[in-house]
Subunit: 151 residues, 2 copies
DNA sequence: TCCTGGAAGTGGCATATGCCACTAAATCAA
DNA sequence: TTGATTTAGTGGCATATGCCACTTCCAGGA
């Protein structure tokens, strides 16, 4: 692989983001492995926990995730008894999600491992730099790419 | 979804990275859609193009991607005739990859769209900020999370 | 009240990624 | 040369994500 190959790759925001996501995902997944959960699942359980019995649409919006994708991702967690859903009382179209007692226990377990992964990440990358990175990522996540750029 | 929910999410480097990746991926995918290729495929074609008939392992290493994942991702591209593989002359274990003429033409086509997506991204986010982001992501991609942090 | 349009999810299909077990091929050691 | 070890890929299985078509419901307007 030539030098040009790497530099060319390095110009694409999307490619670099994906590449870094794979890398970091591996790190978090490695550390969380003993729990039997992936980092994506830990994140989702956490999101459900802190949300107040959130509706699926609300979760999807928060995570900037396709609603159907969320449904798919939720299935293994429901199958394994960590999560359960129930219809909203006021609007029967809305399906709300919550952790089961078992899911809550699992979340406690996996969050301990998450702290290890998170700590190691910040030790290696630097707490400041990590915070700045998250801030930029959050900012980007809020952007509307369809809007005409200031003008 | 409460405010706490969002702030909690915002602390996890991995979650924020994934979330931003989904968002940006949607942007690039949207713009590339007329070509019939996803942004991941465009990136892979490009990587194959600039590499000198790269071996699968070399591509996987560059992209920090699992070798088998690369193999899977390559399949649709091979099926559609954009890419072909051939055994390395010196080491028969090694499988090299190159674009077909059709693949090269498709790459030309999709790169035009990529430039549009890339440009719009940089217009909205800012050229400087985008460059800094890519630099940080590249740095992180190079980290060894197993190594003890300087000490 | 009835009809129409929009909102919330589901299911199917396809790609993106990873892990693990396994095969083939090259290497190294005895 | 032969047997153990390492390297490069493949295939199967499972999760991660998205798009699209379709169903169910709620909200408004005639």
């Amino acid at each position: 692989m030539s030098k040009e190959a790497v530099s060319g790759l390095a110009l694409c925001n999307n490619a670099m983001l994906r590449r870094a996501t794979r890398k970091i995902g591996q790190h978090y997944d490695d550390v969380l492995a003993p729990s039997g959960l992936k980092a994506t699942q830990q994140g989702l359980l956490y999101q459900i926990h802190v949300g107040n019995e959130p509706a699926m649409g609300a979760i999807a919006t928060s995570l900037i995730m396709d609603l159907s994708a969320l449904g798919h991702t939720l299935k293994p967690l429901i199958r394994d008894g960590y999560v359960e859903t129930f219809a909203d009382a006021a609007d029967r179209r809305v399906k709300r999600v919550r952790l089961t007692p078992r899911g809550l226990a699992k979340l406690d377990e996996v969050m301990k491992l998450w702290q290890v992964a998170q700590q190691r990440f910040e030790d290696v990358v630097g707490k400041e730099k990590a915070a700045r990175l998250r801030a930029v990522l959050d900012e980007i996540a809020a952007v509307d790419f369809n809007e005409t750029p200031a003008g």
